[in-house]
């Protein structure tokens, strides 16, 4: 972005809550069932049926609110958002409007320069999801699947506090991490459990007033959020620099073309005619209940990161990476518990070797072929000197390939580190004998050749010689 323009971004994130039944009916929320098999009379909007609020959804929304230091409304009200659409059975969506359950939260994110900044959370409200329109499978017709209709959502609305696509993604990842830690959502973006609309505008740097915004709908991956916003910022700057005006409109991101395109113009915007839903009573939460939920909140990513720094002596970056994902954090702590190895070494292995292997094979840590037990076993062998770090990486690859545990691989492949001084001395002598030229160079003051000798000894030992011992023996012999 050119320095003379500033982007302003706000996000609306829709999070499906992990309740077993729907927000206003007893039908199951499980994903992937045959169309319309998980929609009861209430979800279908048949005449005379009535919604009954699932208290679990309220509890989860309150948990989220507390996790972002927001105010939990003692009294919130469900409203009807009226519009016609075939996958909206009642002709209105039950949502919250004037009195949402969560207001005035905030979240610290990584800013563009790598520093920290606070993003305000305007509100988070409870609502029901709509069904799905299926356009592909039917020629000339549209199919309707109402399994998703009535699935509980919280819509989390941020302040327009972000200034770049990267900041927006950082915010979105933090929210994702929080809902996963709270176990209030599976956060599955492919299945649509976590999706986002981005409001983007651009203004001349230093200007107070906001530019005209566009809204990019239904972004369902971190990468799409980043690319869609980046595209949209560039597009708006181009429009403005051409002396034209940005049109307030809803746009869709086309990942194939990597561009956003107008969906419908806000000028013909629907009037949703919100009004309080007379079928539902106001949601009243007593302060004891809020206190109770607060007490039961699990450890959140930020708290976890600072604990990792204190308890395990990790640096800020490692602590944050490990604490961001609940399963990664659990894996790390389980490994630490099972090995005497230095905690920083464990952190390095989890964020380094393991993380790299997972991303190559596109695996989740919970399905890692190397379990925390296996990794702990490996790291213990480095710690007690049985193997070197280099050999450990080789063993890790064998474990990843399913060849068993570290100890059995060490035994079967004879990878135990050579620590017998006599044996190493023989290797050292052999190397010095084979390289008289280099010995001469070293003696005439060329210290760099020392590394060459170490390398040769290690090579001769097939990597098994204890490097410290090799070092000190070489020093002694070359004196």
């Amino acid at each position: 972005m050119t320095a003379k323009w500033e982007a302003v971004i706000g996000l609306e994130i829709h999070v499906q809550l992990a309740t077993r039944s729907k927000i206003f009916s007893a039908a199951s929320t499980a994903f992937g069932a045959e169309p319309n098999t998980q929609a009861c009379a209430v979800d279908l909007g048949l005449p005379g049926v009535l919604p009954v609020l699932n208290s679990e959804a309220v509890r989860m929304a309150a948990m989220f609110g507390l996790a972002v230091n927001a105010k939990i409304a003692k009294r919130s009200v469900f409203a009807r958002k009226n519009y016609f659409y075939p996958d909206l059975p009642k002709g209105y969506q039950i949502s919250q409007y004037e009195l949402p359950i969560v207001e005035h939260g905030q979240l610290e994110v990584v800013s563009d320069g790598g520093g920290r900044k606070i993003v305000g959370i305007t509100r988070a409200h409870l609502e029901e999801d709509a069904g799905k329109s299926l356009h592909e499978e039917f020629s000339d017709q549209t199919g309707i699947d109402l399994n998703r209709a009535g699935t509980p959502l919280i819509e989390i609305v941020s302040e327009p506090d972000m200034r770049s696509a990267k900041e927006a993604v950082s915010y979105m990842k933090k929210i994702h991490s929080i809902v996963r830690h709270l176990e209030i959502s599976d956060g599955n973006m492919q299945e649509g459990s976590f999706r986002c609309d981005a409001n983007v505008s651009v203004r001349p740097a230093g200007q107070e007033a906001l530019g005209t915004r566009t809204e990019i709908k239904n972004l369902n991956s971190f990468r799409f959020v980043e690319r869609a916003i980046e595209f949209e910022i560039k597009r708006q700057i181009r429009v403005l620099e051409d002396g034209r005006e940005v049109v307030q409109e809803t746009r869709l991101y086309d990942a194939g073309e990597d561009e956003t395109r107008p969906m419908r113009s806000k000028e013909e915007a629907d009037d949703y005619r919100y009004f309080p839903d007379p079928d539902l009573l106001p949601v009243v939460i007593r302060s004891e209940v809020i206190e109770d939920i607060k007490r039961q909140l699990p450890e959140l990513p930020a708290e976890k990161a600072s604990r990792f720094r204190l308890e395990y002596g990790l640096n800020e970056q490692d602590a944050e990476i490990l604490a961001m994902n609940k399963e990664v954090a659990e894996y790390f702590e389980q490994t630490v518990r099972k090995t005497s190895a230095d905690t920083r070494r464990v952190a390095n292995w989890v964020t380094g070797e393991l993380n790299a292997a997972l991303s190559v094979d596109n695996l989740d840590i919970t399905s890692s072929p190397v379990t925390s037990d296996m990794l702990a076993g490996l790291l213990t062998r480095i710690e007690d000197g049985t193997i070197s770090g280099k050999i450990a990486k080789e063993i890790f690859r064998s474990m990843w390939a399913g060849e068993g545990e570290a100890d059995s691989i060490i035994e079967s492949k004879g990878l135990r580190q050579i620590t017998d001084t006599l044996e190493i001395e023989l290797l050292v002598d052999q190397v010095l004998l084979d390289n008289p030229v280099q010995v001469g160079q070293f003696k005439s003051g060329k210290d760099k050749v020392f590394g060459f000798f170490v390398g040769q000894v290690m090579k001769l030992s097939k990597g098994k010689a204890n490097p410290q011992q090799v070092n000190s023996l070489l020093r002694k012999k070359l004196q």
Binding site: L46, R273, D279
Partner: protein, 483 residues
Amino acid sequence: MEELSVRQLAQGLAHRQFSSVELTRHFLARMQAHRHLNAFITEMGEQAVRQARLADQRIRSGDHGPLTGIPLAHKDIFCMQDGKTTCGSKMLDNFIAPYDATVVQKLEQAGCVVLGKTNMDEFAMGSSSENSFYGPVRNPWNSDCVPGGSSGGSAVAVAARMAPLATGTDTGGSIRQPAAFCGITGLKPTYGRVSRYGMVAYASSLDQAGPFGKSALDCAYLLQAMSGFDDRDSTCMDEPVPVYPRKLDRSLRGKVVGIPDEYFSEGLDPEVRVFMERAIAWAEKEGCIIENIRLPNTDLAIPAYYVIAMAECSSNLSRYDGVRFGYRCREPKNLHDLYHRSRSEAFGAEVKRRIMIGTYALSTGYYDAYYRKAQQIRRLISEDFNKAFQDVDYILGPTTPEPAFRIGEKVDDPVTMYLSDIYTISVNLAGIPAVSIPCGIHKGLPVGMQLIGNHFEEDKLLNFAHQYQQATDWHTRCPPGFE
């Protein structure tokens, strides 16, 4: 048999003077004989006889309550898996619900026999039962007159002795006004007393189901069986249900009866006023203390009611879109055409009028002026009643300004039609109970009086009504030709 009270019918069944099948066949025959009144949309003869057989078995085995084997009619607003539920609309002419309304379920458990589903104003929108896809209902006292509405079919079923009992719903007077026009007893319970689950919604914050019967005692039996908490309706209250029929014999001595000035103002028919004064004189003789009271916001009730009811209905009726059930237009060209024609072709004029007014009242820029303002008025009206009930036990007045009007008389003048609910509407806005009982006959048409009580005081209302009916015989009068 048709002149017997519910208690007498239950005794007859228990003592094997007649069986439920005989009783049911008797009422089915009357129903068929009076089809010209157009009180029923669906007659359920076969199912009814089957239910009656089951009831007879229950009675024989001693497993029965006060309503086991008693026939009744349901307003066609209550969803039933047996037969269609039309709500008086072309939109639902083909609709068979896959569930029973809680009211239907409770009465089935009580052993009632369902004779049929009664005619009504389309989606309960109307005060005359003329707005039905199935044609207007006729008043048995004068078949050129309306029976009132929207529960006109149910009121006629009881008045013409086609059913000993019937269910109705009351959003702005839809039980009490037809009860008054047909010379029977009808009660609108406290909002939250009876579950709304499975009752097709008109205006959710005002709709409430209630009983029709020849007498207060008959209504007490039916109300007893309909009432109670239901976890499928969030607005249904978990309040204990008194045994209503046992609460009716208490003396009225010392009870304070409030007479609101506003219910006796110029719009009231002078003859109706005379009957009211007689009823008041009776109460005084019974030892009641009569007090004049004020309900100062009464004149705001009709505008507030129509804004709220129409706003809610505009949203409640959005689900009738031709997509999943109900009427669908032929060969829609596209989605918009499907919505537009399905709704245009299947809704009647009054329903369309209310949807449009309600949509307008909720629109951006008008919400504060109409909907929010109406809600504020609603609170004021509630406060009027709260204040009154600090001093009085009952509020008494006419149910309607005049007796039944002629079919067609007000169809083209919706505002005059709306005004016929002037005394009943405030009660729905306040969510309190009220009963209409016959208290006179003027030019061959019944006159009804309305007794209003505080929240959950249905037992007190029925007590007063029963005492009145012990002393008078208006409620035993049968329309000529229906004896």
